[in-house]
């Protein structure tokens, strides 16, 4: 990459003279900086969090690290966007199977200020999240980043993939229109085709032998309470292992030779 030229320095006449030691800091900017520093210092003295933050953020990354390495963070931000828009959608949503659910979604979409936008973010964001999860998984697979010692992180990632699918499945019912209803009927019956445990699984999902009011509240509870908590906890574990084990170089980067070997070859 071509190096950008350095910006020319300010003319010396325009530069403020540096403060002498011991001179009191009087400008509002100085005072604000001072207050910020002392606040962070107060927190850090009691928690020692800056060490942890430095450990997490200022890691060494291998040569060859490129844009593909941002897919994991992109997935996490998609999840955060889903979490935030979901919390606000829950302020208007009513899980009432006898018409209230559909009506509340119609209200959000047509009448609430920015409702269509926030609901749209949640709806399209779910597809974005699923796509990003698969791209991230593909990056990990094709770069061989799942190998020792990172197998456990791959396993956690697969669980996160399954949980993301669970979110998609349970969220699909909530608008409670024809598409949502019949897709859920079909989806629950697909679960029921598993031998031996299938019938119990589909009864568990429906909350009984027939689709009913319990089914919707059950899906809503799984969608907004159970699975998001699990996903957040597992993202924490996933990130901890990434920070602890470090990232891998892309497969096309050759391992650096040891200096002795290089000399011997020369």
């Amino acid at each position: 990459m071509p190096k950008l030229p350095k910006a020319p320095p300010m003319p010396s006449a325009l530069q403020a003279p540096p403060k002498r030691p011991g001179e009191p800091k009087t400008t509002p900017v100085d005072q604000a900086a001072e207050a910020g520093t002392s606040f962070v210092g107060w927190i850090d003295e009691r928690t020692s969090l800056t060490g942890a933050a430095r450990w997490l953020m200022f890691r060494k990354v291998p040569r060859g690290t490129n844009w593909f390495y941002t897919l994991g963070s992109a997935t996490m931000f998609a999840f955060l966007s889903q979490a935030v828009t979901g919390v606000f959608l829950a302020m208007y949503y009513r899980p009432d199977a006898s018409g209230g659910a559909y009506e509340s979604i119609r209200h959000v979409t047509n009448e609430v200020f920015l409702g269509q936008f926030v609901r749209g973010m949640h709806k399209w964001g779910s597809s974005v999240m699923v796509i990003l999860v698969f791209l991230h998984m593909g990056r990990t697979f094709f770069f061989g980043a799942y190998k020792y010692p990172r197998e456990l992180n791959w396993v956690i990632g697969v669980v996160l993939l399954i949980l993301t699918m669970t979110m998609s499945f349970t969220g699909y019912l909530l608008p409670f229109d024809q598409r949502a209803y019949w897709a859920t009927i079909v989806g629950v019956n697909i679960n029921g085709t598993g031998p031996l445990i299938g019938p119990y699984l589909s009864d568990f999902l429906r909350g009984g032998p027939e689709f009913g009011a319990t089914t919707l509240s059950r899906f809503y509870s799984i969608h907004m309470l159970l699975v998001p908590g699990l996903i957040a906890a597992l993202i924490g574990a996933h990130l901890y292992l990434v920070a602890k084990l470090g990232t891998t170089a892309p497969p096309w980067i050759k391992a650096e030779q040891s200096p002795d070997l290089r000399e011997a070859e020369a």
Binding site: S98, I185, T193, F204
Partner: protein, 222 residues
């Protein structure tokens, strides 16, 4: 080798010179507190986890009472063609709790199956035996056809094409004192039209299917 075994500590804390040890005491107090603390934590966690879990899976074991619903007077139905009727399977959720059944009079020439002997009306559920979409009766083709994945059934509800794994479900029927046809609980049939307690769509009932897909624990005999 033998001498190393001799240096093994006694299992009695008193012999090991622990301060305040009682005679005959074998568990150290630290170990006792660790095990006791973990056991207490386990009991406390189980005290809220087990009821919550039972609460969530309870509906699997609940039995629902049989419903009988009048769907029209006897003259509404004939022996040769199906009449669609709407019945309620779940009264709590309005329109979403309704389903369609296709009803006709028992026809001795068609319904030769021994299990149907004595039935006055045949009521076929519109719930596809593949994954539960609503099938419709197409008069010209004399077939039930499913819009979702192309399941096709004949006049008796037996599969003739597509992915379904068993014939269409049926409902028990009876005639009440006011000469109205009433539809009762649902039952499933295998490819020989033998009756089984109701199964979900997608669950075969031929061969080992009836054992691989057991009936509901709460299913009641009619």
């Amino acid at each position: 080798m033998a001498e190393r075994h001799v240096t093994h500590k006694s299992k009695y804390t008193l012999d090991r010179g622990m301060p305040g040890a009682f005679e005959g005491e074998t568990v150290t107090r630290r170990r006792f507190m660790v095990v006791g603390g973990q056991a207490a934590g386990g009991v406390a966690a189980a005290a809220f986890l087990l009821p919550a879990l039972g609460f969530a899976v309870g509906p699997i074991f609940k039995s629902t009472p049989h419903r009988w619903e009048s769907v029209g007077p006897e003259d509404l139905f004939n022996e040769f063609n199906y009449v669609p009727v709407v019945l309620t399977v779940n009264p709590e959720i309005g329109e979403a709790g309704k389903t369609t059944a296709y009803v006709r009079k028992f026809n001795a020439a068609l319904d030769t199956d021994p299990y149907d002997k004595g039935t006055l009306y045949i009521a076929i559920s519109s719930r596809c035996a593949h994954l539960g979409c609503p099938v419709r009766w197409v008069d010209a083709a004399e077939r039930f056809i499913c819009p979702c994945h192309g399941g096709v059934y004949d006049l008796l509800g037996r599969r003739v094409g597509g992915p379904p794994v068993r014939p269409l479900d049926r409902f028990y029927t009876r005639v009440n004192a006011a000469s109205e046809v009433e539809l009762g609980p649902r039952f499933s049939v295998n490819s020989e039209l033998r009756r089984f307690s109701p199964r979900d769509p997608g669950e075969p009932l031929d061969g080992v299917g009836q054992y691989m897909y057991p009936s509901r624990p709460g299913a009641q005999k009619l």
